[in-house]
Symmetry: C2
Subunit: 98 residues, 2 copies
């Protein structure tokens, strides 16, 4: 049976927050707030982490639904997943506005 303890929104918010819970991922999302899209390679140059590590962080953001990747020739173009981003925004707003 399994009684439900947390609301969907609580679970979702926690999931989004968790995805935001690392400086690298905040960095990426902040960048995507400013410039609509970015390439993994550019990030790799700015950040002092191995590219495999960066790839994992991007995967986390993707799995959480906050970004989406699009293959573009040799590279991968990342941008915000607008729908989920707005959902996250709403959830955070609801929580914080008091």
């Amino acid at each position: 049976m399994d009684v439900k303890v947390f609301s969907d929104n609580q679970e979702k918010l926690a999931r989004y927050a968790k995805a935001l819970g690392h400086p690298v991922r905040v960095y990426v999302l902040e960048l995507l707030g400013k410039q609509s899209c970015c390439y993994s390679g550019d990030l790799s140059e700015e950040l002092p982490i191995a590219k495999s590590t960066l790839s994992q962080h991007l995967k986390e953001l993707k799995d959480a639904g906050l970004i989406q990747g699009e293959i573009e020739a040799p590279r991968v173009k990342y941008c915000i997943n607008k729908e989920n981003w707005e959902e996250a925004s709403t959830l955070f707003k609801e929580l914080m506005q008091r």
Copy 2:
């Protein structure tokens, strides 16, 4: 020397987000948004987790600066740490508003 890669705000935001990255902690903060304070014992009854586990979650929120605890007779009263909560609110708002 250690060159700085992330801004203070990025680090702070990640820290706050991390603290929000668990349903139990979201639950607590949501509650504190509605009712100004709460007691660990009440939470313990509503949530299906051991009291030691709850205590740890509260400690995390405290360490992150989002709540503060005040000893009140036999119990402990928790409430929002207003200053930091507002800082977190601002940081999230800045990130999300686009």
